[in-house]
Every structure is written in C-alpha cells, then in structure tokens.
C-alpha cells in the first residue's frame, strides 16, 4: 500500500501498532480539514508492525503528547519534500495540559483555569502522576 510522499508536513513514524488511532484522536487530527493519513500495521524491518500518521500540512504537533502516548515514536518534519528534522521522543518530565486528572477529589476539579500538570514519577514503568493529588494517569 502506498501513499504519496508529502511535500510539506509531518510524519509520525514508528508508532506502536494499534496506538495510531488513539494518537490521531488525542492530537485532534480526526477533527481537522487537513489531509491526514493513518496507515496501520505497516511491516517494519526493525520491529515488526508499526503505525504511521502523515499530515500534509506544516502544523505544530504536540510532542509531549506523542511522547506520552508512545515514547518509541519519531516525528519527522518534511519541507520541500525533504526531511528537515527528525525528533526522537523522550518522556517529558512534565506534561502540561496534555491529559486531565480524573480524580474527583483533586483541586483541578474545582479550581478555575488551573493547568493540568502531570509529573513523570517512574520512568521505567512510564508512570505519570498528577502534580496536585498524585493520582496516576490512566493509560
């Protein structure tokens, strides 16, 4: 299966197979009018199957969100048909306004305009906790 190479845009590559759709939704790409392709279960030489998202527009992508959902992904920026930037994801120390705390007893549930901040508390097990109430982020 082939999708034409993009001239200016973003390719999110090496997404763990099966996580592409969720990432697409979290990045709200399902709500845009942009030309976006989700390619699922591509056979990759390195690690079996993977998903790929191609966005045919040079838009900013929330790298923290990508890193949170799938730290193994890479984000490639394409301009004029050329790869100009390749970014390996690294789990960020802080996730600011990426995910929301689900704990109803958390101050974020009542305090207006409070930023949703999650701190990486366990890098090995990829566990983020709410900065305020320390509740674990749901995966």
């Amino acid at each position: 299966m082939n999708i034409d190479p993009i001239q200016n845009g973003v390719v999110i590559d090496h997404i763990t197979a099966g996580k592409g759709m969720r990432l697409l939704q979290l990045l709200k790409l399902d709500e845009t009018d942009l030309s976006v392709a989700l390619i699922k279960n591509v056979v990759s030489s390195k690690r079996g199957k993977k998903d790929i998202i191609k966005i045919d527009a040079d838009i900013p992508v929330n790298l923290d969100l990508v890193a949170y959902v799938d730290p193994g992904a890479t984000v490639n920026i394409i301009r004029g048909g050329q790869l100009v930037e390749k970014r390996q994801m690294e789990m960020p120390e802080l996730l600011v306004d990426v995910i929301a705390c689900k704990n109803p007893r958390c101050i974020t549930s009542t305090e207006q305009e409070l930023k949703q901040i999650f701190r990486l508390s366990d890098r090995k097990n990829k566990i983020y906790r709410c900065l305020y109430c320390e509740t674990k982020a749901e995966k």
């Binding site: 007893r105 305009e113 305020y132 109430c133």
Partner: protein
C-alpha cells in the same frame, strides 16, 4: 531569601526533621526564650473545612511564639463562598500576613496555594492527601518517648489502606536505620502495594503483615492505632465481625512491653478504650501537645528561611 513551603512531610529531609525535633525539644525546655520569637508576625489560617483541633493547634503555636493570627474560618464564609479561587486567595492573603496554614477538602489545594503565595505555606491537610504536621507530631512523640528514631519495632494498626497518616509515618520512619514494621489490619484494609513498595520494599526493610493485633503485641516498641471506619466495608457483617479485633483494651495490652508507646492521630471514636488513658504507655494526648511544639518549630524554620525573621 527563598520562600519555602511544606506540602508533604517528605518535602523535609531527614536532617531537617532532626533539626525540627531539636528545636521543638528546646522550645519545651525553654519556652520563655521563644515567647517573642515571632513578635508582630502574622499567621493566616485558611480553613476551607472545619478542623477545630488542627486550627487551634496552629493558632496556639503562633501565639506562643508571640505572633498574631488572622483566620478565614469556614467554607461558607468570606471569599470561599464568593467562589474566589485558592490561587487568588493565597495571593491576597500574602499581602497582609507572613505565613499561611491551609486546610482544604480537595487534594492538592495546598500546593496551589504555595505556588501562588509569596509567603511560606504549610499544608494543614488537603483532603485525604497529606497532613505533614500530623506526621511531625507523631515523630516528636516517638522521639520523646524513645529518645531515638532507630532500632524500633513499629506496629501500625487499623485502617492501613485509606489512613494517610499511616502512610506518611511509614515513609518517614523508613528513612531511619534498623527499624522493623508490623502492619496490622483486616484483609480489606491492608497497606496499598505502592506504599509498601515506596516505603519498605524499595529499601529492603523488614516488615510483616498480620491480621492479629494480639499476636503482634509483644514485639512492639511503638503501636500506632487508627480507626476502622464502618463505611470502609462493603457489608455490615464484615465490619461487625472485625471491628473488635482492632480495638485496644487493657486485656490486649497484657502481653505488651512495659515501655511500649501507644500513639493515635485522634480524634478517636472507640478504637482505644478510655481505660487505657491513664496507662503510662498511652502517648496520644502528649502527641496532641507535641503537635503544637512541632508547628512552632516549623513556623520558625519557614519564617527564618523566608527572611521574615
């Protein structure tokens, strides 16, 4: 000078805890030396839910340091009722006081206050999350009863699942060498695995889990009691079957060491029989007094660090 707040007891290093205990002991020995330590300084108590004993302890602490107290009492009075945010209240109160003690039903509220205040903030309880000055009271009590934080067998009994004071105490005492821990609770209310992991397993500390308070009793140097609440059980039958096992009575104390210290964060309902109150091993009312001395030590420390004193 850098403003410092205390949200969680783990915000304080072991050295700082030792210093606070030393200051509190010095206050107890020489109260007159501290009677004007905070002259003309003001403590704001922002209590968004009633907790009379904690508020009184903070207020007594500030008065004994020669300072003053301004209170925003009750969730249904003043700014809270008008819907002012914790962040805005913290900014406002920073303008006319020197230090804040905040109690709030929501978890993380004290951190929001600390992030927005220009003066030190002490967490006086944020929902079921943290209550560091309770743990300070517990620590001073252990120290004054045992003259050490090491080499102790510490039993915690009752609701070990939801009882955050227990989790904080385990975390705090696990930082000192050669302590052993006995976790005594019904199956339904065992210490959560993440607490065991953080406080005990990750440091390879010896601990045992049991449902049997009487069997554990002879080993203990410290017994920290908490309440087993009815609403924590799925059915009434289990509660009624179990509740008496975790009520401390003179009979259960028969096999205890003569120098055992019995602690409880209070208020109690019935989990310690009043018949024990006059036993020399009962330390829970001393614990209340110790809480005031540790709050004095903490207020002094934070005001000094902030450059206010």
């Amino acid at each position: 000078m850098k403003k410092r707040s205390v949200i969680d007891v783990l915000d304080l290093s072991v050295e700082e805890l030792d210093q606070l205990v030393a200051t509190a002991n010095d206050i107890i020995a020489h109260p007159d030396d501290y009677a004007h330590a905070c002259d003309r300084k003001k403590l704001a108590t922002l209590f968004y839910e009633p907790s009379t004993r904690t508020r009184m302890s903070f207020e007594a602490a500030m008065y004994e340091l020669g300072g003053h107290v301004i209170s925003m009492a009750g969730a249904n009075s003043s700014s809270a009722a008008k819907g002012e945010s914790v962040a805005d209240t913290a900014k406002t109160v920073s303008c006319y006081t020197d230090i804040i003690a905040i109690r709030h039903p929501k978890e993380g509220a004290a951190l929001v206050a600390a992030n927005n205040a220009s003066i030190p903030v002490i967490n006086a309880g944020d929902g079921g999350h943290c209550h560091p000055t309770q743990t300070l009271a517990d620590l001073l009590t252990i120290y004054r009863e045992k003259q050490t934080f090491s080499g102790l067998t510490i039993g915690v009994c009752g609701d070990l699942k939801f009882g955050r004071t227990v989790h904080s105490l385990l975390n705090a005492m696990s930082r000192y060498p050669d302590n052993k821990f006995v976790l005594i609770s019904p199956e339904e209310l065992k210490v959560p695995s993440y607490v065991k992991q953080d406080a005990l397993k990750s440091k390879n500390l010896p601990y045992e889990q049991t449902t049997d308070l009487e069997a554990a009793m002879p080993k203990l140097d410290i017994l920290y009691m908490t309440r087993v609440q009815r609403e924590r059980f799925f059915n009434e039958e289990d509660y009624l079957r179990l509740k008496d096992s975790y009520i401390l009575t003179p009979e259960k104390l028969r096999t205890a060491k003569s120098d055992l210290s019995i602690l409880h964060p209070l208020p109690r309902v019935n989990e310690i029989s009043v018949a024990i109150d006059d036993d020399p091993r009962a330390a829970y009312f001393k614990q209340v007094l110790n809480g005031k001395f540790m709050r004095m030590a903490l207020i002094l420390k934070l005001l000094k660090e902030a450059g206010t004193l």
